[in-house]
């Protein structure tokens, strides 16, 4: 059951990611990204990271991607037109991608050589209470710094938008 669920949602995530790149229409690409986000959130859930799964669903697929789709619909962007492909990328693209994947999997297997198969339901430290506790004790400083960074970004966005209107 564990392996079956993992394989299914991992496949959904990978197919969605490939489809995101391959699709011609921006809406199709955006929706492929949504399917990747949802599959990732299910994978988090299977690993016992409930809060992160919910946050992934609420923030990424529920808010950010809705905004993406909204903007694409508002601009009424049409299907992407095929540009003349760069000669070098045409030949090197696929081999280089394969090389990157092989390298990444090599590093992962090397650095975590004693990793065991995950038993779903074994890890239970991912509830909202645990995440909140670590966030506001152990990682308080990074958390606050990040929130200030986001605040600055929001203020910047508002200022930039103001200038456009004037």
């Amino acid at each position: 059951m564990d392996v079956l669920l993992f394989t299914f949602f991992a496949l959904v995530a990978i197919v969605g990611a490939v489809s995101l790149v391959v699709q011609k229409h921006p809406i199709s690409s955006a929706l492929s990204l949504v399917s990747v986000m949802v599959a990732l959130s299910v994978l988090f859930l299977l690993l016992g990271a409930e809060f992160i799964a919910a946050a992934q669903l609420v923030v990424y697929s529920g808010a950010i991607m809705v905004l993406f789709v909204f903007v694409i619909m508002l601009l009424n962007a049409g299907a992407e037109r095929e540009s003349r492909k760069a000669g070098l990328a045409q030949f090197l693209g696929l081999p280089l991608t394969a090389a990157l994947l092989v390298f990444a999997s090599y590093v992962i297997t090397q650095s975590m050589s004693n990793a065991k198969a995950v038993k779903f339901g074994a890890f239970t430290g991912g509830g909202p209470r645990e995440v909140g506790w670590t966030l506001f004790t152990q990682y308080l400083l990074p958390f606050e710094v990040t929130s200030i960074l986001i605040l600055v970004a929001i203020a910047g966005a508002v200022v930039l938008a103001r200038k456009e209107i004037d």
Binding site: I27, L31, V34, V38, S41, E50, F51, A53, A54, A55, L57, V58, S61, G62, A63, V66, L67, V69, F70, M73, L74, G127, P128, R129
Partner: protein, 396 residues
Amino acid sequence: MDFILLSILKTAIAAPVLLGTLAYLVWIERKVLAHVQLRIGPSRVGPHGLLQPIADAIKLLTKEDFIPSYVNKFYYWLAPWLALMFAVTAISVIPVGPVVEVFGIKTNMGQADISIGLLLILGLTGMGVYGIALAGWSSNNKYSLLGGLRSSAQMIAYELPMAMAIASPLLIVNTLNLREIVNAQAGYTFGIVPNWNVLGGGLQIFSFIIYLICAFAETNRIPFDLPEAENELVSGYNTEYSSMKFAAFFMAEYCNIITACSVATTLFLGGWHPIIPNELGGQFLPTLICMFFAGVLFYHALNPSRPSDRLSMGVIGAVILGLGLMFQVPVVKDLAQPLFWFASKAGFLIFFFIWVRGTVPRFRYDQLMRFAWLFLFPAALLNLLVTAFIVAVKSN
């Protein structure tokens, strides 16, 4: 495997009940609206139009599923089912009763009991906007597109104050699990005022009001039904839809209303806890209420305004009386009483939704956005801050 079997069994009970409720909600809405506007409402199919939902279902199932030639076929087909799927799934985490023991099996009354219940509902209802947005875009029709755009913008705008309004009672109950949220609201202040979050539990009346306003906007109901404003957008995002696809949108909308009202019930109105403590006769209240309604119906059966009322009012009255007596049968009691309280609280909120539809006119679009960002959001933020301050002072 026991867990899976039990889940299938619960779903087999819950799914038909939900679908039946959805179908009859349309009848109830039409009847209530009709009486608000001094009309009679559906009255031709069956006694008091009670078979109208079945007639509607047959009509929608057998109608030709017309697909215009200019639509984007894949997304046009996908959109209604996407909307319906997320709407139906969100209901699965709502608990309608406490943990009960039936035939030696201990189980909770509700489909799934998870620690992130409330967040999951927020996530799934947030995903529901894709159905509407895609329907508007794929229809390739300017009215549909405008409806879809309005709906996305509205959902993004009202999700923020809604989340803020939900957060402040969460500060008091200190959990995200819907069952624990309800359990935290058990008991009575001074032995009479229920400890619900909206009353004795935390005086979260402002959160409740903000939540309700946002719920109206999130479910695209009047006064926030701009996405399907008939007099400017034909029928908005579902203009090009017919047959079962149209029905799917309709069901998704009603499903969202049920979810919003159930969440309000669990979060603010104490879920399945009775309004009067059991020591003061709270367990007899469901029977008394049913007996009252049965009495009204029997009176109308004896003094009928139409000849057919003599039979139909009498039969419905007898059914309600039987239902009322059921609340005192020893084994059934433990299941039926929590269900009664949950259903009557959620049902009252649904009635309120319909009531508002019959009373309030529609907003203008700029008013809607200004209201969300310039009034509702700051108000929700202030409410959250005050609640957080009170909780912090109390816990010290």
